[in-house]
């Protein structure tokens, strides 16, 4: 007796729970591995899942086993030249061997790492674990122009396409009950009176009264029938109102100094930093737009390719970029509709008296529009005027302005974590 059952349509991922249990249990290991990966891998790899290895000894499930030593006899196949009594040198670095299997050969490669793949989602979960976008409170509703129609109960007027049938029928039924009840009562009374009259001795009957009652009953029955099944004032319509929406869109301005002092190494570091920020924003907003602005003495909006790879020479005027950011915001990204983020990377050089201009620009105009401003200074050297001016901005907007120094590529992820670590709710 044999049955065939087609189970292909059944749920897969039966192991999802166990998989999550495993990831949960080795959270710290995986996190370490992910951290290394973030620093080591090229940026394009970030978008994919990640291969993670954990030392096998940490996740082994121990059982009692034989250890090396003592005497054992091993049977193996494939003898070519041995004869009984042959003596062989022990293979160098005797591996521990399994439970009696295996032979004089080297027992294959030692599997001392347990490797597996995280999906992209799982990977990013680990990358951004414990981080939060600061100042993510929804924008004040009155600032918002964006609206979305939402259901808000029912109304008595509306267009036929929005008729709420259930509610309308309920109203009609209530009305019918309400309108028919008094008529029915009068009808019942009239019928009772008629019966009483008719039960009387024929001599005592009042023919006029009977006639009246019959007419009354007839009239009432007609009225009862005249109560309409549904009437215009039973109709109910679904009500839609426009509700202002918290914006779920973000723009990220990548601002980078491309003057002669910024090497390709600096730019790579900046690129990784921008990428991390982008991925992070992408997880928090439905839609994230990118604006690339590079500057030396003048700022220019460019595409990604040009942003990262073309070289420029010359001096540096940071305020040119900030001005451009401000202009673009005014033209294209109304702060009422967009969450605005600026990430600036620079080596800290700036035209001497420009730094104060930057500060003024930020404090007077930009900061009020932005959700968050991050500045990373990629330099092993001591800070210059720009850093000092920015420190004053930070003092004024500690919630919205953050700055950190990056010396080498290994610092990117730690610095990123520092910038976005979860703060205790105020």
């Amino acid at each position: 007796m044999t049955y065939f059952i087609d189970r292909r349509a059944n749920a897969k991922h039966k192991s999802a729970v166990n998989r999550q249990r495993f990831l949960q249990r080795y959270r710290s290991h995986i996190k370490r591995s992910v951290e290394e990966a973030v620093n080591r891998r090229s940026i394009t790899d970030m978008e994919r899942g990640e291969k993670v290895s954990i030392p096998a000894k940490d996740i082994s499930e121990p059982v009692f086993q034989h250890g090396p030593g003592g005497s054992r006899t091993i049977v193996s196949p494939g003898n070519k030249e041995f004869v009984e009594g042959d003596r062989l040198r022990r293979p160098g670095g005797e591996s521990e061997g399994g439970a009696g299997e295996g032979g004089a050969s080297n027992q294959g490669e030692g599997v001392d790492e347990f490797a597996f793949s995280l999906s992209r989602e799982e990977f990013l979960d680990f990358v951004f674990d414990g981080l939060a976008l600061p100042h993510l409170e929804r924008k004040q509703l009155r600032d918002l122009d964006e609206v979305r129609p939402v259901r808000a109960g029912v109304t008595r007027d509306g267009v036929p396409s929005r008729i709420n049938i259930v509610r309308s029928m309920r109203e009609a039924q209530a009305r019918r009950i309400g309108m028919r009840a008094p008529i029915k009562r009068a009808l019942r009374e009239a019928e009772e009176a008629l019966q009483e009259e008719e039960r009387k001795d024929p001599v005592l009957r009042n023919p006029t009264r009977i006639h009246e009652l019959k007419a009354e009953i007839e009239r009432l029955e007609k009225r009862l029938e005249a109560v309409p099944f549904i009437d215009t004032y039973d109709l109910r319509y679904n009500n839609l109102v426009d509700q202002p929406q918290p914006s779920n869109k973000a723009v990220m301005f990548c601002v980078m100094d491309v003057s002669g002092s910024m090497t390709q190494g600096h730019k790579d570091i900046a690129k990784r930093f921008f990428l991390l920020l982008y991925l992070f924003l992408e997880r928090n907003y439905e839609k994230v737009e990118l604006v690339f602005i590079r500057h030396h003495t003048a700022a220019k909006e460019v595409d990604e390719e040009e942003f990262f790879y073309s070289r420029e020479t010359g001096g540096t005027i940071v305020s040119s970029a900030l001005t451009l950011v401000d202009e673009i915001i005014t033209q294209r990204y109304s702060p009422a509709q967009w969450n605005l983020y600026v990430a600036q990377a620079s080596d800290g050089d700036n035209w001497d008296d420009d730094s104060t201009t930057c500060r003024d620009l930020l404090m007077s105009s930009l900061m009020a529009k932005l959700q968050y401003y991050t500045y990373v200074e990629i330099t092993p050297h001591s800070h210059q005027a720009l850093w000092e001016e920015y420190e004053r901005v930070q003092a004024r907007h500690p919630e919205r302005f953050a700055m950190q120094q990056i010396v080498e590529s290994g610092d990117i992820y730690p610095v990123f974590r520092k910038l976005f670590r979860k703060r205790i709710a105020q």
């Binding site: 897969k12 499930e61 090396p68 005497s71 494939g78 009984e84």
Partner: protein, 519 residues
């Protein structure tokens, strides 16, 4: 029922009608060969589902534990890298016998898996004495459902972490969760659920009784012995060691005697023990089970070809796949990974048939009872009554030893050099055979460890004894395992390695001087 001379189907595509038609033909032949099977339940699944099935080590329903997640991740990784085909087989010892066919398989593969799993393994599960004694195919799925539900309830009541730690500890000891001599009684899941309730109350009462004897109280209870026995004024030695006989089933001992376990914890220990018991026959019949299934898929596929039911392309595809399965790389090959149970088992069953059908002088000398006998009767006899160890001891012929060029090697740590102790020649056959049989003896593969003493009147420590085999010590994993054991027992755990009745090594957990908690 007449011989068909045109193939039922050709090419690699399949559908349910074709599979049903082939299954019917295989069933017809299987009946001729007297393969007695449980009803088959053949499930068509996708490769993802196959990975799930692999990860739950062949249990159709499993409880949740991270180790199965680990298993899943490694299967997934291997499959993605293409290191592993999933196709071959997955079959569950249950009644009806559940076998999985993967939808990606070619028609040939589906026929092959049906022959291998649904008739080969299935008849082995139903016929072999170990399976008949140790497992109850009709109850296992019910029991798994019960176990999963119970453990999920425990997770809700006591937290995932508590249950997980307990399962970790039980898993570490699951190879020691088997009664080797007593047959367990089969029960169904409703019965199990009902009995579980009674057991919780009853078990705890029993344990309480055992541990009521607190230290110092005992001598007073036996005041008579106290007066009569002048050599032992405190009466410390008048009790037998507890347990009186060493106990080989560590999990059973813990379930019944561990002083501090809660009733639900005892039930979980029991669940792990029961499942270990279910898998116990499989661990002892790997060569036979795979050999038997391979022997039958080979026989059945050839029969299908002989009757014209599959075409030449299909049989060639089959031979290609079959050859890969029964390949045995030599010990010095980079592909060597121990003895391939498919290769050894297939060679042996094929050789039994050969000895029966066309015996030569050597066979008559070595196997006088079976040479020239009815081959079908003989292979069935072998399948029913042996496990790997005894099967090899009984049926490994000089010819198979020669074909596989088996040799045995002695690795003694007191000797600088390794010695070839026997090869495939007249003088060596018996010794190779004995050594190979020993290699499959579970009692030698796993260290022999038993409960020796529970100090129920003293410090409540538990002492285990490891009887060393040929001076082979325990591996490094022993401390992690002792730690798990300590977690279950609740008091100090000691382990003594014994060689010829003399204790040669002692281990304990918590480590001496580690006064964290031992009481």
């Amino acid at each position: 029922m007449s011989t068909v001379s045109t193939p039922i189907a050709t090419g690699s595509d399949w559908n349910f009608e074709i599979l049903t038609a082939y299954e019917r033909e295989i069933a017809r032949f299987a009946q001729e060969y007297r393969l007695d099977i449980y009803p088959n339940q053949i499930e068509i699944i996708t490769s993802e589902q196959m990975m799930d099935a692999y990860a739950s080590v062949g249990m159709p329903v499993g409880y949740h534990h991270w180790s199965f997640g680990k298993q899943f991740l490694s299967v997934e990784q291997a499959y993605r890298r293409g290191q592993m085909g999933l196709a071959y087989e997955l079959v569950i010892n249950s009644d009806p016998c559940i076998a999985y066919l993967m939808e990606e398989n070619t028609l040939m593969m589906q026929i092959l898996v049906m022959a291998h799993a649904c008739y080969g393994h299935n008849s082995f599960f139903k016929g072999n004495y170990l399976f008949r004694t140790w497992t109850d195919a009709s109850a296992i799925v019910d029991y798994l459902v019960f176990a999963r539900k119970y453990i999920a309830e425990c997770e809700q009541r006591h937290g995932v972490t508590a249950v997980e730690q307990l399962l970790d500890a039980c898993h570490a000891l699951q190879n020691y969760g088997v009664d080797r001599y007593k047959r367990p009684s089969p029960i169904s899941s409703e019965e199990e659920a009902r009995r579980q309730q009674e057991r919780e109350a009853y078990l705890q009462a029993q344990v309480n009784a055992l541990w009521r004897t607190i230290p110092g109280k005992a001598p007073r209870d036996e005041s008579k012995a106290f007066a009569e026995d002048g050599d032992d004024p405190l009466g410390l030695h008048q009790y037998e060691r507890y347990p009186p006989e060493p106990q080989e089933n560590l999990l059973y001992f813990l379930e019944k005697n561990a002083p501090l376990l809660e009733p639900w914890q005892r039930e979980i220990v029991r669940i792990v023990r029961k499942l270990a018991q279910y898998f116990y026959p499989q661990r002892q019949t790997q060569v036979m089970n795979e050999g038997w299934a391979t022997f039958w898929h080979y026989t059945l596929m050839n029969r299908l070809y002989d009757e014209g039911l599959i075409d030449e392309g299909t049989i060639l595809e089959f031979l290609h796949s079959h050859t890969a399965v029964v390949q045995q790389p030599g010990f010095d090959s980079p592909h060597f990974n121990g003895i391939n149970p498919y290769a050894l088992g297939f060679a042996m069953f094929s050789d039994i048939r050969r000895i029966c059908e066309t015996p030569d002088e050597e066979d008559r000398e070595w196997f006088p009872e079976i040479a020239g006998s009815d081959w079908l009767e003989t292979v069935h006899f072998a399948m029913r009554n042996f496990k790997d160890e005894s099967f090899i001891q009984q049926f490994l012929s000089p010819r198979v030893i020669r074909d596989l060029k088996l040799f045995s090697l002695v690795d003694d740590d007191r000797d600088e050099m390794l010695t070839i102790s026997a090869i495939h020649d007249e003088r060596g056959y018996r010794r190779v055979r004995e050594a190979l049989a020993a290699q499959y003896a579970l009692s030698l593969r796993e260290p022999n460890i038993q409960v020796w003493e529970a100090d129920i009147r003293g410090d409540r420590s538990l002492t285990l004894r490891h009887v060393q085999d040929a001076r082979r010590p325990l591996g490094k994993t022993l401390y992690p395992v002792l730690r798990h054991l300590h977690q279950l027992w609740g008091f100090a755990v000691k382990l003594e390695s014994v060689e010829e009745d003399e204790v040669v090594r002692r281990y304990q957990w918590p480590l001496p001087g580690d006064a964290r908690d031992s009481g």
